[in-house]
């Protein structure tokens, strides 16, 4: 009868003690399994969320840093981003493509702007002055980054040629909704109005709030293409009615997307220049630096992969002016799903504590059981049974019980984790969101907003799923078997020190 068979017989014939060891490992196993499952689920949720956000980066103002300055009663000196900095980062190896845009808000005097339907749970979005406007978005990248990256779909016509971009040709892309509202087609002209209003007269503001029209000029663009937001982008997410701030944000984004007219950047620069010069005439005190006014560009970089985020961010941060930061999926994830990190940290500590507790408790239980079997081991040794065989028997006994207990804990621990953690994670995120209300966070604007994705609490929670997968099984069984084997070291040392004469005679 070899030691393996003895181990099996020992377990099957000493049922009481086997059961106690089994229950101890099962309980501790459940604790470890639950924490491992939760850890895996959080990592998975983070991974999926980041994947869905993609490897896109923008550069924008760091509102958290600004908040500190403002709260100290100081006025930070903000500067526009230099195009040279934007372009120098754009040629880095991590960058697949990039663009920088300039938005100018124009009046839709002769055209109808798109309004989200109130019947569809939409919010009424009214522009300054009570009327509706369109955003003229000057772009630098001829293929249009949002179309190339699949946020927008070109449903008719074409994108810009490089020549049109370089020469500032009066051509543009409009949305299908604006085209439909105004019966515009490719080849038609869209006429926007760059209206400069004078608000210096208080009565003019009070009378309808539109001020008086000081200067105006038409911006006539030939429609060369018509785009539509793709499903899953701003429009699609906005069609689900809801009451949260995120729904409102989605509606805003939808409206902004449809009411955007893409044009070469020189067109937007010219219109902005016209505005600055006009306002400098109306309120020269406020625009004393009008001649040297720099455009406030919004840069967007599409990186080759998510793995490039860290190195690009480091390089960008080194050249950015004060109060600027890198806005990317990571920063958005941290803002929205930051509480997951704190849960992950707690779960990590719990996991380490449970492993240590399991090591100590299982070791003590095994030692206590072996003390009861002192005479049995003395008999083996008096018969000349090798100590390795005696130790092998102990190891097999513990491992057999552990494997059954861990096998059950693998499933039950997962179920316990699934039942408890889903709500915990949800409450934690919602509580953190509630706590952070009113605190400024850094969001990208314009084109960057669409490209950086729109992560919601629902996205994070939808990605949070406790399940049994290969990494979970391997991690848990590795830990469980490891703890069981390590728990035998102390008891095995005890066996090694046994002297048969002292036990038997």
């Amino acid at each position: 009868m070899n030691f393996a068979k003895r181990a099996f017989l020992s377990l099957s014939r000493r049922v009481g003690k086997t059961l106690i060891l089994f229950l101890v490992i099962l309980i501790l196993g459940n604790l470890i399994a639950a924490t491992v499952a939760m850890r895996q689920a959080i990592e998975q949720s983070e991974h999926l969320a980041k994947l869905s956000l993609g490897a896109n980066v923008s550069l924008g103002q760091d509102y958290q840093a600004l908040e500190k300055v403002w709260s100290a009663g100081e006025e930070p000196e903000l500067v526009a981003l230099d195009a040279n900095i934007i372009e120098s980062l754009g040629v880095r190896a991590e960058v697949k493509s990039y663009d920088y845009t300039l938005d100018v808000y124009l009046s839709a005097r002769d055209v109808k702007a798109y309004e989200p339907s109130a019947d569809n749970g939409g919010y009424a979005i009214t522009s300054v002055g009570g009327g509706r406007g369109l955003t003229l978005r000057g772009i630098h990248y001829a293929p249009v980054l949002l179309i190339e990256e699949g946020q927008l779909e070109l449903v008719s016509g074409r994108v810009f040629s490089q020549q049109e971009i370089e020469q500032g040709a009066m051509v543009g892309l409009i949305s299908d909704k604006v085209a439909e509202l105004n019966n515009l087609h490719v080849g038609d002209n869209i006429v926007l109005a760059n209206e400069i209003r004078d608000y210096s007269d208080e009565t003019a503001i009070l009378d309808g709030g539109e001020g008086t029209l000081a200067e105006t000029r038409d911006v006539v663009l030939e429609v060369i293409g018509i785009f539509s937001p793709k499903s899953g982008s701003a429009e699609a997410s906005a069609t689900t009615p809801g009451s949260s701030d995120q729904d409102w944000m989605a509606q805003m984004l939808e409206s902004e997307t449809h009411n955007t007219v893409f044009a070469p950047i020189a067109v937007a620069q010219a219109e902005e220049r016209f505005m600055i010069d006009a306002y400098a005439k109306i309120t020269p005190d406020e625009f004393e630096n009008a001649a040297t006014y720099d455009p406030w560009y919004t840069p967007v970089y599409v990186l080759n992969s998510v793995d490039d985020l860290a190195s690009f961010s480091e390089a960008a941060q080194a050249v950015l002016p004060q109060y600027y930061t890198v806005l990317n999926a990571d920063s958005q994830f941290e803002q929205i799903a930051g509480p997951l990190k704190s849960i992950q940290s707690i779960v990590g500590i719990t996991l380490v504590a449970s492993v240590i507790a399991a090591l100590v408790i299982v070791s003590l239980v095994v030692v206590l059981f072996l003390r009861d079997r002192r005479k049995e081991f003395g008999i083996y040794l008096s018969l000349g049974v090798r100590k390795q065989a005696v130790m092998g028997q102990v190891l097999i006994e513990v491992l057999l019980v552990a494997l059954v207990a861990l096998g059950i804990a693998l499933v039950t621990g997962n179920l316990i984790s699934g039942a408890l953690s889903q709500e915990l994670v949800q409450n934690q995120i919602l509580a953190a969101q509630s706590d952070s209300m009113g605190i400024s966070v850094s969001y990208a604007s314009g084109a960057a907003n669409m490209l950086l994705g729109n992560l919601t609490i629902d996205d994070v929670l939808a990605n949070y799923s406790v399940g049994i997968d290969v990494p979970y099984v391997l991690t848990f069984l590795g830990l469980g078997v490891g703890v069981s084997v390590l728990s035998c070291i102390l008891p095995l040392l005890y066996v090694l020190r046994l002297k048969p004469k002292k036990i038997l005679m």
Binding site: L9, R13, L383, V385, P500, L504, M505
Partner: protein, 223 residues
């Protein structure tokens, strides 16, 4: 033929600061085919002597040779595994195993060449020692003291060794069982050519032995 020889064995231990000598220059040769009884008062060192001969303990000086080879050189574990069978007063059987399984433990440990059908060998051995097949498959805790001692003897014999050491083997048995066990030892020595050494203070056993030795004040001599 001398199977085991003791030469100048010394053994002592500290007892309350005093060195207590148990064995002093003990020398003796034990022959195959003989049944020996070692007598002595309680505390005289009988059990210590037997534990040294069974390699359960180590002498402070002197040598024990098995077939002219020092058992220290043979290796104590190896010696216990392959050359000696020990029978204890309290049987020392594994309680959750059956009689057959207890014997099989020793057979698994030994390196000696044994018949392939070990189960049949054990059953025959137990039958020879008076344990029928029904009892052979019961857990040893369900057997009487005499039956358990028979199982212990079977375990000592199962590895096909020539030297059987027994420490007070009848100490826990009634008179009838004691007589039967003594008969078994005599048979093993006289018919199977084993060397049987029994440590006892039972003079009845001594009467049946071929050679009676007395251990007194650390000195071993023929009575």
């Amino acid at each position: 033929m001398t199977i085991i020889a003791l030469e100048n064995l010394n053994y002592s231990y500290k007892d309350g600061g005093m060195q207590r000598f148990i064995l002093s220059d003990v020398s003796f040769g034990f022959e195959l085919g003989c049944f020996y009884a070692i007598l002595g008062n309680s505390g005289s060192g009988k059990t210590t002597l037997l534990s040294l001969m069974g390699a359960l303990d180590e002498p402070q000086s002197g040598t024990i040779s098995y077939q002219a080879e020092d058992i220290k050189r043979l290796g104590y574990d190896n010696y216990r595994r392959n050359h000696v069978g020990i029978v204890f007063q309290s049987y020392n059987l594994i309680p959750w195993l059956t009689a057959v399984e207890n014997v099989l433990v020793a057979m698994d440990a030994t390196d000696n060449k044994l018949p392939k059908d070990q189960h049949a060998v054990v059953t025959n051995l137990l039958t020879f020692l008076g344990i029928d097949q029904g009892k052979a498959t019961r857990r040893v805790t369900e057997l009487s003291g005499g039956e358990q001692q028979r199982v212990a003897i079977a375990r000592a014999l199962a590895t096909n060794v020539d030297l059987i050491l027994a420490d007070e083997p009848t100490g826990n048995l009634d008179e009838t069982s004691s007589e039967e066990i003594v008969e078994i030892f005599k048979t093993l020595a006289h018919e199977h050519g084993k060397c049987v050494v029994v440590v006892t203070h039972d003079s009845e056993i001594a009467r049946e032995a071929d050679t009676v030795l007395r251990l007194s004040k650390g000195v071993l001599g023929v009575a």
